[in-house]
């Protein structure tokens, strides 16, 4: 996990035009952003695109980060925005394609080859809002307050979604 103060310093350096600051941020945050997208059931190819688009959006909106504020909610709010835009675009395209030719929708993510539980398959069964909260909390290591900021919702709502997601995963795991 990233020490918050270090990320804030890097972000300020980036705003001041320091190339080393943004290079360091990309190195540190790209893996967790990538996992965030993958866990949202997008394919690797799309995850690459989304990661690039997120950094482009971060670049365009870098002045909206206020020094002293936590960095992760700011970054994830933009990443989430990119993902939602991508989801809407994909859905519109799929709808159009389906009208032309009734093709079955193929699952986006290859199941992980492991002896353990198929977490991706279980995640797929969660409602999108619960999955998103769970991934931010458990994959990106954000606090509940940070997730609330990133998803523009209240702390109570995040707690409720996380609780419901855990309950559902537990039931799926035991089944």
């Amino acid at each position: 996990m990233q020490p918050a103060a270090e990320l804030e310093q890097l972000m300020v350096r980036y705003q001041q035009g320091d190339a080393a600051g943004i290079a360091e941020l990309i190195q540190r945050l790209s893996p967790q952003l990538y996992r965030f997208f993958l866990a949202q059931l997008v394919s690797r190819r799309y995850a690459d695109d989304l990661l690039q688009e997120t950094w482009l959006r971060i670049h365009q909106a870098r002045h909206t980060y206020r020094p002293g504020e936590p960095v992760l909610p700011w970054i994830y709010a933009l990443a989430r925005h990119v993902r939602v835009d991508h989801y809407r675009r994909t859905r519109r395209r799929e709808d159009r394609e389906r009208q032309v030719d009734e093709l079955p929708v193929t699952p986006a993510v290859q199941p992980a080859a492991s002896a353990g539980p198929d977490v991706q398959a279980m995640l797929q069964q969660l409602p999108e809002s619960q999955r998103e909260v769970l991934v931010m909390l458990k994959v990106s290591g954000m606090s509940i307050e940070e997730v609330a900021r990133a998803t523009s919702s209240s702390v109570g709502s995040v707690k409720q979604k996380a609780h419901r997601a855990y309950e559902r995963l537990r039931r799926l795991y035991e089944a």
């Binding site: 990661l51 950094w55 977490v119 991706q120 209240s154 995963l169």
Partner: protein
């Protein structure tokens, strides 16, 4: 499975080094210093100044006929409530234009709550339930309220334009609620028609209509801008 086991069992994945290098190169090319947004407090204060200026200018232009006829008790209830709701709408507008900021409630909830609070206050104060010339007088008031809401929305946008809305419709609703409250304040200062239904329907209608119009403008305007950026 316990929640704390979750990160360990999720398959690890990392982006290609080549991709990260490409991103780094494209972002560091022509990198210039950027001035960060002003503090949230300064932005909220600017919006309050816009609101106050528009409300006073509107009422001064049209005449303070409503304020003169209102009892001191009614003044003490209506205007502090409008001020409080405006403060909340200004804070919501600033937060909606700052990614990752706190948002205790959705701006649409604020808009509905603002209408509810003001409706309750009007029900407490005004007792005349006669209709009079309900539609013609009402339409004139609503038009006046909206006419003063428009410049408030424009100046608010000037204050907020450097921000970035991750939820365009929500940002528009917040700003529209603020503009609608300015229109409502102009009407409360100006309109001497104290019939309950007139105020409840036509004065209050300014808030949701302004919120809907500004919400739609933000949503479709930013969508077009985003499409241009993608090309």
């Amino acid at each position: 499975m316990r929640p704390e086991e979750f990160p360990e069992i999720l398959p690890a994945a990392s982006p290609d080094r080549e991709l990260m290098t490409r991103i780094t190169v494209s972002m560091t090319r022509d990198l210039k210093p950027e001035r960060p947004l002003r503090s949230a407090g300064a932005a909220v204060s600017s919006l309050l100044v816009v609101f106050l200026a528009m409300a006073v200018l509107g009422a001064a232009t049209l005449g303070f006929f409503g304020l003169i006829r209102l009892s001191s008790g009614a003044i003490a209830l209506i205007f502090p409530a409008l001020a409080g709701l405006t403060l909340l709408a200004a804070a919501a507008s600033v937060n909606a234009m700052t990614p990752g900021s706190k948002r205790p409630f959705h701006p649409a909830v604020l808009m509905v709550a603002a209408c509810g609070v003001m409706a309750a206050i009007f029900l407490l104060i005004f007792r005349d339930t006669s209709l009079g010339r309900f539609v013609p007088q009402g339409l004139a008031c609503m038009r006046t309220g909206l006419l003063w809401a428009i410049p408030t929305a424009v100046f608010s946008w000037i204050v907020l334009r450097r921000g970035y809305a991750v939820n365009r419709a929500a940002a528009g609703i917040a700003c529209g609620t603020l503009a609608g409250l300015a229109g409502l304040t102009v009407l409360e200062l100006h309109c001497p028609n104290f019939r309950l239904w007139h105020i409840l329907v036509w004065h209050l209608a300014v808030v949701p209509i302004a919120a809907a119009i500004v919400g739609a403008i933000y949503f479709f305007g930013s969508k077009r801008k985003a499409a241009e950026l993608m090309q």
